[in-house]
Symmetry: C2
Subunit: 369 residues, 2 copies
DNA sequence: CCTTTTTAGGGAATCGATTCCACATGAGGG
DNA sequence: CCCTCATGTGGAATCGATTCCCTAAAAAGG
């Protein structure tokens, strides 16, 4: 309990106490075994703690940061007052002085798809263990907002930035480097920056190999624009390389391009089936594209996997509930998010240079192939 | 362009300039038509701007905040320097002084489901229009973290809090009220707080009525635990009331309870079909439950909607791609998020009291009923 | 032409922490 | 007994803004 000096005047024994000492006074009340300063009187500051514990602000700060010399006696008193009042130091004042905000900025194109939301979940889980918070900068797919948010994050003095980018714009990267704030880029490789990426090439290749092992020779591919290096370019390269490595040819009409939604997969499959030389399997670079493709296949009476085998990538929640359940690649995004946090924290206190982390993946075999 | 005084010494004409005036000096360089202070020299402050524009910090502040008297001449100079340097005031210093951080805290149980991620998207969209950022506090379904995050948000001096709660704990509500920070609760009604809710009762009722209008008399219901007032209790009440209003009886086995995932809907439907008095329609309180239920129906060879009609609630992205496309309720979560932002901003500058906003909903008729 | 009022802008305090520096003890070494 | 050194603590400057207060000049009014 707080020890009151002689000058403390108790007005109401149970719940309201007028506390006066060394010029400081405030109305505090008793509740849940702790003293709380009355709302509206402004927040409780280090000065108040110092006065209540009969020490200087310096000493309170030393206790708070566990630095410098503090006698056992003073420490005890300060800690007791802090406990009694529920005091927590203002992060703004702290940030102003130390230039460390305990906030990490996250720039992402959307949180409405599973990959980013899983990554952010993992990221937040790990960051919160170390007392960091996430400042969200959702560009909502508007590229011009990326730059804007970069500025916003800077002025909020974030200690680090996580960039979930799809298309890594040169200008943006330059701007990021100039900020001189530790950054981790997730999902895309960027020269000169710390990146946590997925093995898009290998996973697509392994998936293709799985089709081949299952006896398929004519394998189609539903991709996305190659300006997305990871999803568009690397996955396609994995597919093409594995086909070539097995001496399998690829008809032009088998390789279709969509965007990131279900309907796009539907249309792509429609185009794939327009050929006379029909493939027996299709690799879609996202589960949503695969779902759309399956939807079309069902519509035209194709049986999956006998008439057409299909796989996605991403292990969406829905994938296991499809009919048939979808074979796909699990990138363990939450784990990746945690890894991103670890890397970022590490690079924050050790001026670590650029480094590439490639995450593992798992082939999830279900009944669609 | 910055005007240099006589004492400015140009060392390198093109890219490095040594700028000295009234005691201030720094190395700046020319790039993209603007002067940038060298990295590592620390951030550029209002003091620098003041010195470059030959005015006092007070004047710069007045320009920045568009307050007090500033001559046209001085304003022009300051604005030019700000533009040239790309200066933006530190939000921490500002927050420390003004107690306004331009940050809104959002506490949510997860961002991995569509409802919260859509709400946050809408919220962020509207907030960013007014220069606010979102500080994310994802409890990851751990109730004990709610309180913890409340403290975190407080010490970060957030200007407002948005609570996306499923179960509104008394203690949490009390703690929120005590913080004395404007709050908006989304999706659940809480006494004494500003709430933006959905019309769970009416929408469930209308959906039930739709089944009845379609000729169904024996209608089953897949709900969730009633501790979730909105989804568990209100939607169930809407269903029961509409059934009663039409003189339709409800068999106990028709009313099942699940949790918020797909598999749970599968199991619920399994239980529903164990009865001899089989219903001809089922209302599931979320799309995911409906998807699971459909999955079971397909497995046991039921045709939808002829053998069993089914509907969900929530208008998930997947719902329109199901076979058959799912009849559901659209709550327009993004719009709700925007409304939340508007309400919060309004309550922030007008000490508005508690108020209930009930959002509209749309019945989305597809082929599953 | 003198007084009021408006306009302009600088100085200094302030917000809530951290941190450097100076000073005061007390213990130990010679 | 004096000197050094480890320990403990307070004072004051600082971080980067805002804002109150005060002074000065210009404009308006009589």
């Amino acid at each position: 309990m707080v020890k009151f000096s002689k000058s403390t005047t108790i007005i109401h024994t149970v719940d309201v106490i007028f506390y006066k000492q060394r010029g400081f006074h405030a109305i505090i009340w008793f509740e849940n075994e702790r003293f709380v300063r009355r709302r509206g009187l402004g927040m409780i500051t280090i000065k108040d703690i110092a006065e209540m514990a009969n020490v200087s602000r310096s000493t309170v700060s030393r206790v708070l940061n566990n630095s410098g010399y503090v006698s056992e006696d003073a420490r005890k008193r300060v800690e007791q007052v802090i406990k009694d009042t529920g005091y927590v130091p203002s992060t703004n004042a702290k940030a102003l002085r130390t230039k460390k905000s305990k906030v990490i900025g996250v720039i992402l194109p959307t949180i409405q798809t599973e990959t980013p939301s899983r990554i952010v979940t993992g990221l937040g889980r790990e960051l919160s263990k170390h007392g960091y918070q996430i400042l969200l900068a959702n560009t909502d797919h508007q590229k011009e907002k990326e730059m804007e948010y970069l500025q916003v994050l800077k002025i909020h003095q974030v200690d680090g930035i996580v960039l979930l980018a799809t298309n890594t714009d040169k200008k943006l990267i330059e701007a990021i480097k100039k900020l001189n704030i530790p950054v981790v880029v997730v999902g895309q490789e960027v020269e000169g920056l710390l990146c946590v990426t997925y093995d898009d090439y290998q996973s697509a290749r392994e998936l293709t190999k799985y089709f081949i092992d299952k006896g398929h020779r004519k394998i189609a591919f539903i991709g996305v624009d190659e300006s997305d290096r990871a999803v568009g370019y690397e996955r396609k390269r994995g597919y093409l390389d594995e086909m070539a490595a097995n001496g399998l040819s690829v008809e032009q009409s088998w390789v279709q391009k969509g965007v990131f939604n279900i309907h796009s997969g539907y249309e792509a499959m429609q185009k794939i089936l327009e050929t006379n030389n029909k493939p027996t399997a299709t690799l879609a670079v996202t589960d949503r594209l695969a779902i759309g493709a399956m939807s079309y296949l069902r519509e035209v009476g194709f049986n999956i996997p006998t008439d057409m085998a299909i796989s996605g990538i991403g292990n969406s929640e829905m994938s296991q509930h499809l009919n048939p359940p979808l074979t796909t690649i699990d990138y363990e995004n939450e784990k990746a998010g945690e890894e991103v946090a670890k890397q970022l924290l590490a690079s924050m206190d050790s001026q670590q240079v650029a480094k590439k982390i490639v995450m593992d993946y798992r082939l999830i075999i279900r009944e669609s192939v």
